[in-house]
Symmetry: D3
Subunit: 324 residues, 6 copies
């Protein structure tokens, strides 16, 4: 019995799954996913996976509860169908911002989700840029928390921006922004939202010098784009030259598209960790595909090689672009 | 420290929770439940539950994935807030019909849900008329699977129907229907859907004699009402007098209301295990409240008494109506 | 290191295990099983199973507690001896009828047994015709619940019975009987045991038309044969022609043999899921061996192929016999 | 809600349970235990135990597999019936001698049993003189491993034996025998069974001086009595005066009674941890009841007091008898 | 049976435990803790805790491995001695900085520790200022992650510092520092350590304006004090007036005391979450006791009240000091 | 993908790990282990182990808490780095003497350690001469409890000692000593430490005849050597000729070396299960390496062969030496 690989796509991001399938030259195992009239999700794997090493590709993007349930049902079906090893490939991990009790009597939803994925039967998680690195520790199974920074940095370097500075849109994102700043070899500024006194309006206090600089506003997730859009305006107000926006996960909820399509923002660079409907695309937007990194990571896991090899190559490319 | 009781309502059926609260004279503990712009559910208990015996009232009715997630988040929040004991009161248990692998490579969704509820931190489940009794065995925690039959029977007996026969709309529901037949002291018929040959139309074969009888079509769940509506027509076709429909859980998906509002059906009797929107109510419909049984069951659990006492009273009432 | 297969037989049905061993051309790994003077069971695997894919063949037939304990001890020994994967092959799953709380304060014994098998260290269960399909959901490990219907149907079709109808001996078995009826392409009748009034004798009410028909009474388990024997008489009384009895699991407890050896029953067709002592065999009895299906299933699991292949062939054979 | 206590007796030793019930003035909660025709055990608690602190009294004595299953089924029923806390009171713990892998590919049956008891839902174990103290460590739940030595010592001191020496019947029992020797303040001898050369007969080598001494042969379990009976003869042969036999658990398997009723043995002192059928009693036998210690231990647990208090009193009594 | 409280102190911070004991007027339950000659830790609870609500006070401060093992052994002993509920009160949580995989093939030590505490048998954790809030999510049991900020803020406000600014010593601590800045109602600056080019010396880049300001360098843990000491010098260099240092957990490893006793630092304010040996105290140091908050929190848990009450009072005091 | 083997050495006994590595011709996977200034242990595997069969060599010898934590951190890192199977090779198992509750309210530390090793992610334990065989049952994973007796016996036979007798230094070690006596084909004596009356000095009572015999004092662990040294003197006092000391695990705590370097002891024979610092070696001491047995055992596990083969060879060699 030789090892077999199976790729399974949920409905959350089939185009990404298909890109991965093409890259790996491994067909997607057919799976029937439907919603009954009463809204119950149903998942049925159509081909034998007995003894297979299976990768289930499903970001838990909106509608998050349905996409999560779908993921769990697929895992349950695979487990009961005697799959040998099940890796949940979840490029965007929903509920990741509910990662601690910010006030008493809140759930820690990201841990609840981790428990559900483990309990359903996953043997490993592959994901991208978790909102907090510590979420890896919500799991007892191995987590490969891949990093989109190198491919984002590569793209930004290609733009040839001079006098650049990376700006964190809030204090909580300072560490993440510094990571990108390191790859781009730029300085860092941080926006600190503060309310000068009770009842007064919140002000965006920019910690660091941005005047005359090309600002790269870097975040992990763009949700309603309120923070980013406000930050871009504040930067311009403080004398920044161009403002670029860069993030791994593009939720684009509410009227995010409108908020991002403003003159203060020159470009918005995101990845396809979440499937983006055509109507949410706009002229300033660039979408970079994670398919090749994911495909190589899947192959690395299947062949039992070091994940570092995949990333060393990426870092090397960034390094080269930085010092051509 | 004396024992404290807390009642918490999710959003799935607040009117039922409020009825229970009134019956028990215990206020609902305030809980903030909202959906963020990206669809993530958020649950925040507003008052201390430290050391409390808590009952969370939330059927996992449509939209089932969201209602389930809400239930789990509330349980997680309660557990982390040091509640002493958490009982999930789930009058309708979603995914209960996915209770076995009907074909290879299907999930057993009802077990997955059971695992999720247990893992989230529930100490007990209270539910009504599980689609299969065996679902109790999907749990390691105690399950109180209450029975709506006695209050349904009580109502039917009040209607004073003569020459009645209980009819199961399909073979899988025969056992359940017989239970009601026993309470009403009537005979039983069963409808057996069959396809005479490959490619031919399905026929409804009625096993048992219904001619001239008042038929009580009894099921546990009415979903799209296709089966029930077809059955009612078939019974009429075979010479039945009046056809009554009776079920515990009214999902009323798709155009169920239309299918039930037909002349062949005289009355439809259901419970409020699932919240029914006003626009889904119609003239033949009677909704019987489970609030008093649930309230008494909750009280019984809180006080550590025998659940049998609640039901003995109900059976006694049925008995009395049967032989006044 | 190439994968190794090991077959281990408990004492419950060695002839079946030997048939399987012959079919697969894999010798049974010797195991010493004995009972000490005080009744404790002792199991000792005699050959190394380190790194092996092991199949333990042991129905939990009477004496069920001892056969179950033996199974668990063998699994524990295998686990501690570093077997790579352990599949419990339990053609008859004892305690399967205690699958729910029929009244308050009963155990759910079938779930308890499931927990014991999982906790002892089994990685998979292979079984036949579980009393309730939902018992699959009592396990978190994969369960292959094989179906004896096709080989039973094949045999019945060979008998060339005309004007046949399948009869369920009670309402609870209606669904199972319908499954056989579908394979044989016959109609269905159901026997509904009822007590007309408190204190009165129970009557067997036959739902459906059996007059002049050759009845195939179909059940999953024949225990004391009281129900079956009564049903056969009732059918004859209602004008049935010949009565055949067909079941997967033959416990034949008490004086079952006597009750089945009556003129009202023409033939009894069972499988060897349970070892039948020679003194329990009688002239009308036909025992069909499950060895080939089990052997093919074991091979399918070992080779990581689809179980469907085994069954597609069986269904095809039935189809062919039906329309020769 | 005040705490309630419930006592439940399995069938293994009802007289002991009744003695405890009388001592505590707490009635036994009625429980129906029966064996179906096919040998399946059935347990049904007859009165509500919701919220109760329950003690289940059931040694896992022969037939050990059935008594163990009965215990597990009772625990499962109690758990599902919402008992608040379940203590398994197992005066004799079957399978305790299978406590390690003595050779490769053996099970560790005593751990398997521990896992089963825990998994079924027990919150605590109360037992007597485990064959190995380490079995406490097979559990994650609290184990109260009570000691019969003080009440045995008390009885032996009452006999007023002079020039006494405690003798261990084999090397494995040396530590246990020394414990009794300490309580009685006597010396210790040990019997070392050895085979002088391959193929030669085993000889009983007595390590220590027994000539002219009254020997108290002390063991934890008497099974077939082969070892004890041989030891008594060997001691006599070496010039011992009277030989007394003393043990906690009397299995008396095979022809143990015959082997113990020999002139070389003056008295046999045991406890009622295992129910002894009347036909197994003989003139030299004295049975000491554990009911009072068990009753006091149960009360101590229920009231949350220190178990040490129960035993301090016992040790004090022994001390007083030793130095009157 | 009324609820009993027990306080148990490990050896890591007995003075703190004694303060708590005095505050609550509950004596410490005596416990023998020793190290055998070979270094094994031994813990023996000296008084019955059967049925008690127990609080074990033990920060896992250096020597962390021994203090952690001691904590686990105490919890194991309590669990096996039938304590009713065990709360681990761990004011300083060792290994909290190893909270994620910063590079491949690292452990997540803080999760490993969480697993160990849960598995040993703790029912709840009470701790202070976890290095990452997400560590709460490493546990399935409730975690009360208390906050030292209000009592630190209260003390700082008492110092009457004008023109204050809170400074985070590195980007990772920005969020934590902002929390203190909010309580004190000051601005925020952040120190960003950067290496201008490969091989060049690291520079401390101060993001924000500190000239002429009184700087409060705020961190959660002071370990070797290298970062803090360098930051103080850099702030002075940039024209800061006085520099204050403030942290919850004072490890003071290596020559931390020396590094903090420099003229650039005016005052160092810490808590007694970790026991500080007398020789590590120096003139600029102020140690604020957590005993009263811990005592009130323990009481709150024991009495099942809301933890918020304890903290509302503290916030109110800070508010009052801010606007007297 | 073919199976890969990885050997990892903690810091507890690197020389032994290197010997094994040489024997197997498999290099040690580099791992960085360090202690931060505050005493926290850090472990970082330096090369990919994805998909590898890993053996971690680390006795939990003094400092036991640190060596244990190191082992657990390595296992956690391996698990999260997707190692396929992790075997903890722990030649000396620390805390093994705390294997039961000897008095109330003690922990069972050896079980706590077992839980920690399992929970961290080990799939198997390989160890030597556990203090109690029952510790195997503290694990649910397979335990290979290897035996040093045959290589010790081989060495002793080489010494050509005549008139030998094996002596157990206390009653608890009688069984272990008898095992060696069987291999050497000698008689057995046992030393029974007793206190003749309360307050009197303890006396060493020798059970068995040692006069004129060459005594081999056999134990599993030599800790402070107090017992052994006292026993040697007592034996000499009773007329023994030469006294040899033999043990598997040499902790040599306190002034053990001094106590063993006395004229009453002719030779001390131990293994290298624990790394012995050069200053603890003395003229009478012989250290026998376990490297070859461990290497062969590791190979046997990796290749899925029977462990018995390794030991059969060893027993055969002993046999041959005994009857040359």
């Amino acid at each position: 019995m030789t090892e077999k690989i199976s790729l399974i796509a949920g409905t959350a991001n089939r185009p990404l799954a298909e890109e991965i399938s093409t890259y790996l030259d491994v067909p997607l195992t057919p799976v029937e996913i439907k919603h009954f009239n009463d809204g119950e999700t149903y998942a049925h794997i159509q081909k034998s996976v007995r003894g297979s090493i299976v990768f289930v590709i499903q970001p838990t993007s909106p509608p998050v509860n349905s996409h999560l349930m779908e993921l769990l049902l697929i895992i349950d079906a695979l487990k009961r169908a005697s799959a040998k090893e099940i890796t949940a490939v979840v490029p965007y991990y929903g509920y990741s911002r509910q990662d601690r009790k910010a006030q008493p009597r809140e759930p820690i939803s990201a841990r609840l989700v981790a428990n559900m994925i483990e309990k359903a039967g996953a043997d490993r998680l592959v994901t991208f840029d978790l909102h907090a690195d510590q979420i890896q520790g919500f799991f007892d199974i191995p987590v490969d928390n891949l990093e989109a920074h190198p491919i984002l940095a590569e793209h930004i370097l290609d733009l040839g921006i001079r006098d650049a500075i990376v700006v964190a849109p809030d204090v909580g994102g300072a560490k993440r922004a510094r990571r990108l700043a390191q790859l781009l070899n730029t300085n860092l500024a941080i926006i600190d939202k503060r309310r000068p006194a009770h009842g007064k309006t919140e002000v965006l206090n920019i910690v660091g010098e941005v005047k005359g600089k090309n600002c790269i506003l870097a975040d992990d997730i763009i949700d309603t784009a309120g923070t980013i859009s406000g930050a871009a305006k504040a930067l311009k107000h403080k004398g920044a030259k161009d403002v670029y926006v860069c993030a791994t996960h593009a939720l684009f909820s509410g009227n995010a598209v409108e908020k991002l399509s403003i003159p203060e923002i020159k470009k918005v660079i995101i990845t396809n960790s979440i499937f983006l409907e055509p109507q949410k695309r706009f002229s300033q937007l660039t979408v970079i595909s994670l398919a090749s990194i994911l495909a190589e990571s899947i192959n690395t896991i299947f062949e039992g090689k070091a994940m570092g090899l995949v990333f060393d190559r990426l870092y090397h490319k960034v390094e080269e672009k930085r010092h051509p």
